[in-house]
């Protein structure tokens, strides 16, 4: 068996591979079958909606160019914002992957190395059960900080300037500049820039402790989110 073609092909080649896939992949898949994958629209919440509308107010020209005008009817407008926000999250994630952000920023907080004190609550499985985590953006390297609780910690203006020229706000930051997410100036983000900011503001927006600061206090934005539901 050990030196025969059939043994090598069927036992080692297919059998052991299948055994590993069963034990290492199928088991977690079965364990999380009661946590169905949420769609992008389902993960739009009050916190990220607040940030998205904030983008509309801060950069009205860019916003209109990217998404058009909201309907005048308030109820339709709410639905419109949700849909556009989902669209922005999807594009933002594409930019996040395409620019390789995930190779220098992780998206999970470990229960060790004081990470919960630096970034907030340790990551749980349910947080990742959505379309925007397919494939999951755990990441394997941190040149820059973890981003899974980044949402709401900084303003959209901060992010705009930071994406445009990181060392203006973080001196000596090794992060690259992303001027192609803007039309020539940090106050003119283009569609990709708006989308990436929405995506970053979304990270952690589903948590009680949003936004997470080192000295966390419940946020006033929570009440806005609550009244909307």
């Amino acid at each position: 068996m050990f030196e025969k073609k059939s043994g090598i092909l069927l036992i080692a080649g297919v059998g052991f591979f299948a055994f590993a896939f069963l034990s290492n992949a199928v088991i977690p898949i079965l364990m999380y079958r009661h946590l169905p994958e949420k769609t992008v629209l389902e993960v739009v919440n009050g916190n990220v909606r607040y940030q998205f509308e904030d983008l509309a107010q801060r950069y009205p020209d860019s916003f209109t160019a990217a998404y058009g005008e909201p309907p005048s009817d308030p109820e339709q407008a709410a639905e419109w914002y949700n849909a556009k926000c989902a669209e922005a999250l999807e594009l933002g994630r594409k930019v996040y992957i395409g620019e390789g952000c995930w190779h220098c920023h992780s998206q999970f907080v470990r229960p060790v190395s004081n990470e919960d004190r630096r970034w907030g609550p340790v990551s749980k499985s349910w947080e990742y059960q959505n379309r925007l985590q397919r494939p999951v953006m755990f990441g394997t390297r941190r040149v820059g900080p973890d981003l899974s609780r980044e949402g709401g910690r900084r303003s959209n203006d901060w992010h705009a300037v930071h994406f445009y020229q990181p060392d203006m706000l973080s001196p000596k930051s090794p992060m690259p500049k992303y001027p192609w997410l803007f039309d020539g100036a940090p106050d003119k983000p283009n569609a990709r820039g708006l989308a990436l900011m929405t995506y970053v503001q979304w990270l952690g927006s589903w948590l009680e402790s949003y936004p997470y600061y080192e000295d966390f206090q419940p946020t006033p934005i929570k009440t806005i989110a609550a009244t909307e539901e």
Partner: protein, 465 residues
């Protein structure tokens, strides 16, 4: 040591020219080295960015994050895969005494694979990456690459399957490796992209990162070691029993470890423990393989020092032992708490991909190119420089990054401001770029040497005609 132990009368054996398409082997080497050149340029760009000396900071197509993905993908699919395909076109027909299934299919695969790698690079530079580490190939190329891997498996699998009786060790690794590569690519590129999300996708992604090294690169690498080392030393492997232990141990334990890339994530803890245990178990298997190769070398009177390709191979084997020892230690949860996310891992990855597998492939190229071109190297001393600059540069780079990783980890655990982990990295990143430039210089020298040797062979051919 006698070199003439006739197994069959010479007339019974097929002629080498009928077995091996030498031109294709050479083409694969050229393609591999071209992508090595691109990959190293990409690495240098990212390295300079980290030191805040990016020469092209505001050009979208030179986004360092995109080039970082070109760096890893060009090495994995451009250099390593091309070099392996070239070497297999030499090894498989000579071991099985049968040519590959079809010469025209071989040339088609060559072109198709270059197309896959090139379009991957273009796709990545256009910002179309897939969110899967080592599998960033844009999703619309994945089916094509998958079909290519199927053709590769058929093309090389046919002569292997036609062998009667037990197979030689190399062919175990190759046969299994062809199946594994196909399955691994399919699993990694399609399951977490289309079927599962979140922690489950993480588990599959970890399995993919791991299997790509363990079930594609490693078996094809050890396959060539079991072929070239006995030939160069003109003696059989020390222990056939240990060869068996090595192969079956790898086959069983290697695929079980994927999750050790994502320890302390929300992936269930008992699965993380399982991955850790099988990683440590594999280290035992690796020791038996190393013993087997050291046993084979034992008593050859310093052949490894005099023979350059052999020196490449055993340097790689030494690095292999080091990386696997490192694996067994760094996979423990104690180590992970400190070194995960740091440059320790980057150093480890460079030691595996360059220190082990690229060294083996460069050694095999050093051995085969003069045989195919039927002339000596244009400058044998440049080959020596190539070896020392590659091995030395890699040693400095890996050691430097591994050490730097510890400082980053300590800085984070101490809850210092994030900037201090960057500041503490600057000296290490500076050393890394110097080491990288030395390695780059070595490869360029090798390429020039290759080109000049080719020109020399052309003039010799013309003179002979």
């Amino acid at each position: 040591m006698t070199t003439e132990t006739p197994i069959a009368a010479d007339s019974d054996l097929p002629r080498h020219e009928d077995l091996v398409e030498e031109r294709l082997v050479l083409w694969y080497f050229v393609a591999a080295l071209t992508f090595m050149f691109v990959a190293m340029l990409a690495g240098i760009l990212m390295g300079l960015q980290l030191l805040r000396h990016n020469p092209l900071p505001t050009i979208e197509l030179f986004s360092p994050g995109r080039w970082r993905m070109v760096h890893t993908n060009a090495i994995a699919y451009g250099f390593i895969a091309n070099a392996f395909l070239g070497l297999m076109h030499w090894i498989v027909p000579r071991l099985t005494l049968r040519p590959v299934l079809s010469r025209s299919l071989s040339y088609f695969i060559f072109c198709a694979w270059q197309f896959v790698v090139l379009s991957t690079a273009v796709g990545l530079l256009m910002g179309e990456a897939q969110g899967l580490e080592w599998g960033e190939t844009p999703v619309w190329i994945d089916p094509l690459a998958q079909a290519g891997l199927l053709l590769v498996a058929i093309n090389f699998g046919t002569p292997i399957i036609q062998v009667k009786g037990p197979l030689y060790v190399t062919l175990w690794y190759y046969l299994a490796g062809l199946v594994w590569t196909f399955l691994t690519y399919a699993m990694g590129n399609f399951v977490p992209e289309y079927f599962v999300c979140g922690s489950s996708a993480g588990a599959v992604g970890g399995l993919f990162i791991h299997d790509l090294v363990g079930l594609f690169v490693t078996p094809l690498g050890w396959g060539m070691m079991y072929y070239f080392v006995p030939i160069l030393l003109k003696r059989p492997m020390w222990s056939h029993g240990l060869s068996l232990v090595g192969f079956w141990g790898l086959a069983f334990f290697y695929p079980l470890q994927g999750i050790h890339h994502f320890l302390y994530t929300p992936i269930p803890m008992f699965l993380q423990y399982g991955a850790v245990l099988s990683t440590i178990a594999l280290e035992m298997v690796v020791v038996t393989v190393i013993i087997n190769f050291v046993g084979t070398l034992w008593g050859t009177g310093g052949a490894v020092l005099r023979n350059l390709p052999l020196r490449y191979f055993y340097t790689g084997i030494a690095f292999y032992f080091l990386t696997c020892l490192q694996c067994a230690l760094q996979t423990t949860l104690t180590f992970q708490a400190l070194i995960h996310f740091t440059d320790w891992v980057v150093g480890h990855a460079h030691m595996v991909m360059f220190g082990v597998f690229s060294m083996w492939q460069l050694g095999a190229m050093t051995y085969l190119i003069p045989r195919i071109l039927k002339t000596d190297w244009y400058r044998p001393d440049w080959c020596e420089v190539h070896y020392w600059a590659s091995a030395g540069g890699l040693m400095v780079m890996a050691g430097d990054l591994i050490l730097g990783g510890l400082f980053q980890g300590w800085s984070w655990a101490a809850l210092q401001p994030w900037e201090s982990s960057v500041n503490v990295s600057i000296p290490f990143w500076s050393v890394r770029i110097v080491a990288g430039l030395v390695m780059f210089f070595a490869q360029v020298l090798f390429m020039v040497n290759f080109y000049m040797t080719w020109r020399k062979s052309r003039t010799l051919a013309v003179a002979a005609a």
